[in-house]
Amino acid sequence: MKSKLNLDPQMVERARAAAATIADNVTDFISQRTTESVERTVLRLFGVDGIDADGVPLPNVVVDAVHEAGLLAGGVTRPFMSALIATGLSVQELAEAVADGTVDISSIALAPEADIRAKARELAAVGMDRIRQNRSTRDAYLDRLDGGQAPLLYVIVATGNIYEDVVQARAAARQGADIIAVIRSTGQSLLDYVPYGPTTEGFGGTYATQENFRIMREALDEVGEELGRYIRLCNYCSGLCMPEIASMGALERLDVMLNDALYGILFRDINPQRTLVDQAFSRMINAYAGVIINTGEDNYLTTADAVEAAHTVLASQFINEQFALRVGLPEEQMGLGHAFEMNPMIEDGFLMELAQAQMAREIFPRAPLKYMPPTKHMTGNIFRGHIQDALFNMVGIMTGQGIQLLGMMTEQIHTPLMQDRHLALENAKYIFNNARHIAEEIEFAPEGRIVQRAHAVLAESVELLERIVETGFFEALAKGVFADVKRTIDGGKGLHGVLLRSDDYFNPFEIALREELGLGPVKVGVRG
């Protein structure tokens, strides 16, 4: 693809190098730690599921027990495998036994390391297999059915009730949606467990549960089969249970996951250490499962001004890219986020939006960029809103975005009604088709406003990234470089769930995933 913006490759290189330094330093930090949710994820991948009599998920029950026994720093696997060996129970039976008190995991002596490793390898293979299987099921679908063409049409459902969500999602699929995202209930990201079972009572979204994933997957496969199209399913792999949700998604064949290295820190005040450790493991799972991640740079522009803060979006894209590369997530699965969030009343705002979107396209040529619609400047005037969304769609097709998260004209009013989604899909389908090849046809005046704007934003983000390298990443977060939000390394929610790994820390899935992803074993202490 010929560059339309004539971006200076050296500037891009500098930005990438700075982001790489940031990621390297933090990766070292991550490698020395685990979290409760990472360990719960391990159990889920072994096959632990269900809840106890009080409704507490069994992965929480077991991890809490191991934690209380003072054994979690070495990973939940060793005590859990030992107990399996000792009791002869199945994985699920053991978890239930721990829950109902018939097995006291703290009192079981550790099995010989070789036995533990053998058992763990054997059991991990089952989980890994299921994920691999799902991946090839998806591949087979995509071979056989139409997988859509970029920009993929991404819509949300958010009724709070999985059974209404299913109806809305299937209708959306029939109307042409390529990706269905089930928005989560407000507050779920701050829960330190994953709710269980099919749910019908969420606010502004539906709880992410494994059963809800399964139901929606089944419903979409069915309608997709009928339509001859593969309908992708998306959920939120973020919050205090980030890696657990990654595992649930991998097990239920989700295709896309919101999954950002910084979002939880900045927007949910989750502890930075917790988030960074969790995101690394969750991304390994997503990488292996062939899940496209969506990063959350768009969120910056909901609190900061989109014109002024444009460079923070780009800087964060670079950082997300580097974090993702560190855990083996290929560019083709990086749905780096950005957004059409400038005040619609700005003269030539459309030109600046074009510049930003084209710039992302040229700098991350292989990433299926996730492009977010206007939200902050949407008002109760649904008619104007529908046109704001139309211009957004126009920029999407003009700049070859990968995933177009469709705007709804009622953005300011309520979570989407069925007809809002219908009209949003119609909007995008019309524009994408009617201007299908426009990206090939349009060039930008070489010294013009669009080109200059892109150059300026790139320069600012190079400066920002290099400043972060200088300041140190955690210090930069504490100073509020992103989204005007300040976060300290020991602040926020979930720090209590972060543990320094013991020297003999053992996580068979991490080992298997790193192997499969070609990452080589964890190395600590090289930097930092």
Binding site: I51, D54, G55, V56, P57, N60, D64, A158, T159, N161, I162, Y163, E164, V166, V167, Q168, L191, D192, Y193, P195, Y196, G197, P198, T199, T200, E201, Y207, T209, Q210, E211, R214, I215, E218, A219, T379, G380, N381, I382, F383, T410, Q412, I413, H414, T415, P416, L417, M418, Q419
Partner: protein
Amino acid sequence: MNETSRVVEGQPGDDYRDRIAKADLTRIRPYGDTMDDGKVQLSFTLPVPDGPEAVEAARQLAAKMGLAEASIVHHEGTGEGFTFFVAYGKCLHTVDYAHIQVPKVTSEVMDFYEINHYIQDRIGRKVVILGACTGTDAHTVGIDAIMNMKGYNGEYGLERYPEVDAHNLGSQVENEELVRKIIEYKADAVLVSQVVTQKDVHIKNLGALVDLLEAQGLRENLILVAGGPRITHELALELGYDAGFGPGTLAPDVASYVVQELVRRGLAK
């Protein structure tokens, strides 16, 4: 862990199909995102300047229309003492869909070949069909779509049918003139197009033709069809026509009806 509630509302593995809410067809309501939530979108302009009283007036109006929790989500003065509103609310009215009976054109739609065969087999002579856009109406595209050789949306028009003798009289044809042509051509069927509907001119004009035909004793032996973007079969029946066709009609829809109706009414001699 401090939280206690864990959110379980059904059993994993339940068949989701059994749990999807079904509409009560005798009392349907608008659907927003939950069965029976009644969600409706409205927009209108009131002849009062923008302000809190205007918003309240808009809310009251929506309430009178039967909307609960009406929310005025947008209001903007449009000048000259008018204000534009957008509202959402929950409609409390219900409709008995289960018992709705809509008069429909019941003839079976045949294709070009079938229709011509049908005429050869069952009528045994050419069927004479006139088309016209009447009164002051000059919108010919609709009637042309039905009549002209080249047709519309990939379907040939009646002029192309070997077994139909089709005459398109064009636009702004006065009813008197049309009646003269009906006599002149010995028409079996007449297709009347009406597009302009402002101040109900189409109603008046369509009605006047029926009166004229009846006065001249021509109505009975004629198949009289109306069409246009705002025409429904129901409206056409009310106005004394045999059938009415709306947006998206294609030549075979009309031709199928006409030839079958000719046979049914015993006019195919």
